[in-house]
C-alpha cells in the first residue's frame, strides 16, 4: 500500500500543481532558512574532534592585574610559563604554539615573493590533533630543541609552490632562511579552529608550520593576539620574552583520569610557586580545560547565533502555518474522493495513512528544494564573510542533507495533522451526491 499511496500523492500533486507547488515552496523557504542557521550553529557549536576532545587540555594561569577589576585572565600563556611547561611536560604529548608571518621566496622565477601566515608549534602538535599528512610528516622533539629549519606545508601552499607534487626534502626560503620541507598536510580545516580560538576561531588555517622554538630563536615576526598587563623592562626581544605578556597557546594530551589529576596537581603547584615569586596575582578557579570547555569559556558560539536560530525557527513556523492553510484547502478539496473511498470500503485509518504519506511527499519535495535554498543561503554567507572563514566549513554535508529532508518531512506531516484529521472525518454521505 505504501507505494500505492506514494503514487496517489504524486497524482494529487499533478491535480493541483499550483497549490502543491506553493506548499513545497513555503516548506523549502522555511526549512532552507532554518538549515542555514542550523549549519552555522553546527559549525560553531559542534565538537571539532569528538574522539579526543576530552583528552586534549588547554592550560590557563592566573594572569592579570588586580588593580583592573574588569580584566579577564587572558587565555594564552607567557613565554616564561610556556617554556617551563614544555620542559617539565616530558611524558605527555604537549605543544606550545603561536602564529607568525613571513615573506616566502618561491623556488623558480615564475612566482614573486609573498607573505605566508604560519604557525610555530612543537613536534607533538601534529599527532596530538590527529593532523593528516598527504606527504611526509612532522618533526621530532629533537628538532624542537635544536631549532632545526624544517617546515610542514599546507596542501594549498604545496599546490602553489610545487603544483601539488611531493615536495618532501625540497627547500623553501622564508624570511631569508632555508627551510627543508618535512611534510605536506592533507586537506584539514577543523571547525572551529579549536587549538587557537583566541586568534579567530573561524580563521583560515595556517599555510606553513615550523618548530615553535624558531619563533624565538630566529625572532620570527609574530602575529596573533598578545595581552600584556605589566610594562616591559627594556625594548629588546628578550625583554618582551621576559615580560608578563601572554601570546602562546599551550595544549597537553592527558588520556586518563589519573593523568589529568596528576597534571592538574602539577600546574596548581607551579602556579602556587609562581605566586610565591610575586607573579600570577589573580585567582582563577580552573586551570585545565578540555576542548569543549575551552570553546565555551572563549564563547566560540556567539549569542547572535541563538537569536538567529530563534528567528529562523519563527520563519519556519510561519511557513508551516501557511502550509497548514494550504493543506487544509487541498485536503478538503478532496472531500468527494475521500467520500467515495469511504463508501468503497476504506477505513479512516487507511485514509489517514494515505494523507500522511501525501503530506510526507510534499515535505520531501520541499526538503529537496530546501536544500537548494540552504545552499544558496550558505553561499550568501560565504560571500558575505569572504576571507573571514574557511570555505570548507559552510557546506551541506550528508548529515545536514539528511536532517534537512527529515525536518521537512516531519514538520510537514505535523502541519498536516489538523487538515488530515478534518479531511478524514467528513461525512461521506454529504459528499457523494455533490461531486
Amino acid at each position: 500500500m505504501f507505494l500505492y499511496y506514494i503514487r496517489l500523492s504524486l497524482l494529487s500533486y499533478k491535480r493541483n500543481p499550483v497549490l502543491s507547488s506553493l506548499m513545497v515552496l513555503a516548506i523549502a523557504i522555511g526549512v532552507g532558512a532554518y538549515m542555514v542557521i542550523f549549519t552555522l550553529n553546527y559549525v560553531m557549536g559542534g565538537d571539532p574532534i569528538p574522539h579526543k576532545s576530552s583528552q586534549l587540555y588547554h592550560v590557563q594561569f592566573d594572569y592579570g592585574d588586580p588593580a583592573f577589576t574588569d580584566f579577564e585572565p587572558p587565555p594564552q600563556l607567557t613565554y616564561i610559563d610556556a617554556t617551563a611547561l614544555l620542559q617539565a611536560t616530558v611524558e605527555h604529548p604537549r605543544s606550545a604554539s603561536s602564529k607568525f608571518v613571513a615573506v616566502l621566496e618561491p623556488p623558480g622565477e615564475e612566482l614573486r615573493p609573498f607573505y605566508v601566515n604560519g604557525r610555530g608549534n612543537a613536534a607533538d602538535f601534529f599527532p596530538m590533533f590527529d593532523i593528516p599528512f598527504q606527504y611526509g610528516g612532522g618533526w621530532d622533539r629533537r628538532a624542537d630543541d635544536t631549532q632545526q629549519l624544517v617546515v610542514v606545508l599546507s596542501n594549498e601552499l604545496n599546490e602553489r609552490l610545487f603544483g601539488g607534487a611531493n615536495s618532501v626534502g625540497q627547500t623553501i626560503v622564508m624570511d631569508g632562511l632555508n627551510f627543508t620541507v618535512s611534510g605536506v598536510l592533507d586537506r584539514w580545516s577543523p571547525a572551529p579552529k579549536y587549538f587557537d580560538v583566541n586568534n579567530g576561531a573561524f580563521d583560515p588555517m595556517e599555510e606553513a608550520y615550523i618548530p615553535w622554538s624558531l619563533i624565538v630563536g630566529q625572532e620570527m615576526r609574530r602575529s596573533g593576539n598578545t595581552n600584556c598587563w605589566k610594562a616591559f623592562e627594556g625594548n629588546s626581544f628578550q625583554a618582551f620574552l621576559n615580560a608578563e605578556c601572554a601570546w602562546i597557546q599551550f595544549w597537553v594530551e592527558l588520556n586518563t583520569a589519573d593523568e589529568h589529576a596528576e597534571y592538574l596537581n602539577f600546574i596548581n603547584n607551579y602556579a602556587a610557586e609562581q605566586k610565591q615569586l610575586g607573579r600570577m596575582p589573580m585567582q582563577i578557579e580552573k586551570r585545565l580545560y578540555d576542548v569543549n570547555e575551552w570553546m565555551i569559556l572563549n564563547e566560540v558560539q556567539p549569542d547572535e547565533t541563538r537569536i538567529l536560530t530563534a528567528l529562523a525557527a519563527m520563519l519556519l513556523a510561519v511557513c508551516l502555518l501557511n502550509t497548514v492553510g494550504l493543506l487544509l484547502s487541498k485536503f478538503l478539496g478532496k472531500s468527494s474522493e475521500i467520500g467515495v473511498r469511504l463508501a468503497l470500503g476504506a477505513h479512516k485509518r487507511s485514509l489517514f495513512t494515505q494523507h500522511v504519506i501525501e503530506a510526507g511527499v510534499i515535505g520531501a519535495l520541499g526538503g529537496i528544494l530546501g536544500l537548494g535554498v540552504a545552499a544558496l543561503g550558505l553561499e550568501g554567507i560565504r560571500i558575505l564573510l569572504g576571507d573571514m572563514m574557511t570555505n570548507d566549513w559552510m557546506q551541506l554535508d550528508l548529515r545536514v542533507t539528511f536532517i534537512t529532508i527529515l525536518l521537512a518531512i516531519v514538520s510537514t506531516i505535523l502541519a498536516g495533522m489538523y487538515p488530515i484529521w478534518r479531511a478524514c472525518n467528513i461525512n461521506p454521505a454529504s459528499h457523494l451526491k455533490t461531486q
Binding site: 497524482l11 467515495v340 477505513h347 461525512n427
Partner: protein, 229 residues
C-alpha cells in the same frame, strides 16, 4: 438479506430537528431488485446512506445478511461496506486522475488482495461491462454511459451481496439509461440483490418491487407484475 425495523433518523442542529426517517421498516429478500421512489426530501437518499452504512441512525434495528449492523464500529462498518455492498452513484464518482483499471481497483486495495488476483478480477469486471479494451483510458475520455459502466464494474469487482444504486441513470440520456438498466438487470439475474433509488416512474416498474417513501415512511410497497428483464 436486508431488514430494517423501526428505523429513525433525526438530523439535529442547534435550532431545529429534522426527522428524515420515522419508524421506517423494510425487508428485502436475497436476489430481489427493489426500486425506491418518492418526492425530493422524502428520505430516499437517507435510507440509501443508512443501508450502505455511510451514516448511523438514531434508533431502530438493521440486520444485513444475517448480521445486526446497528452497533458496529467504524472499522467493522468499513469492512462490511467493502465486502458486502456495492455502490453506484448518479454522478458516477470516478476518480478523474486514475485510469479505468485503477478506478475499479479501489475497493480491492482496501481488501488486502494480492496483485495477481486483483488484476484478474478487475479485467473480468471491466470485460463484463464491455470496457476492458479501454482499461488504460481516463474517465474523461469516456461518454457518460461508459463512465457509469465503469462505476458498475467498480461496484461489482468485489463481488458484493447487494448493490445500492442512487439514481444511476439520472445523468444519462434515455438510450444510454436503458443500456445501464439492462446491465443492472443482468447483474440482478446473476444473483445480486439491487436496491435502486429513482425518480423515474418507468424505471420503477421494471423492478420486482417498488417502495414509495413519503415523509420518511414507507407509503406503499408494491410488487410489480412485470417481470424484471
Amino acid at each position: 438479506m436486508l431488514k430494517m425495523n423501526q428505523i429513525n433518523k433525526v438530523f439535529r442542529t442547534e435550532v431545529v430537528e429534522t426527522h428524515a426517517l420515522r419508524n421506517f421498516s423494510l425487508h428485502v429478500q436475497e436476489g430481489e431488485f427493489v426500486t425506491i421512489t418518492g418526492p425530493s426530501g422524502c428520505g430516499k437518499t437517507t435510507f440509501l446512506n443508512l443501508a450502505g452504512l455511510l451514516e448511523t441512525f438514531t434508533s431502530g434495528q438493521y440486520v444485513l445478511d444475517g448480521e445486526d449492523v446497528s452497533r458496529l464500529g467504524d472499522y467493522q462498518r468499513a469492512k462490511v461496506r467493502n465486502e458486502k455492498i456495492g455502490f453506484i452513484f448518479q454522478s458516477f464518482n470516478l476518480m478523474p486522475d486514475l485510469n479505468l483499471f485503477d478506478n475499479v481497483d479501489v475497493p480491492l486495495r482496501y481488501r488486502g488482495m494480492r496483485a495477481a488476483e486483483r488484476k484478474l478480477r478487475i479485467e473480468k469486471a471491466l470485460d463484463s461491462v464491455g470496457l476492458l479494451s479501454r482499461k488504460n483510458h481516463l474517465p474523461s475520455q469516456l461518454s457518460g454511459g461508459q463512465q457509469q459502466r465503469v462505476a458498475i464494474a467498480r461496484a461489482l469487482v468485489g463481488e458484493p451481496r447487494f448493490l445500492l444504486a442512487d439514481e444511476p441513470t439520472g445523468n444519462l440520456d434515455s438510450n444510454t439509461a436503458s443500456g445501464v438498466m439492462e446491465l443492472l438487470h443482468e447483474i440482478n439475474a446473476a444473483g445480486t440483490t439491487i436496491i435502486m433509488v429513482t425518480h423515474d416512474p418507468s424505471l420503477a416498474t421494471q423492478s420486482h418491487r417498488n417502495v414509495h417513501i413519503l415523509d420518511g415512511q414507507v407509503q406503499s410497497d408494491n410488487t410489480n407484475h412485470v417481470k424484471a428483464a
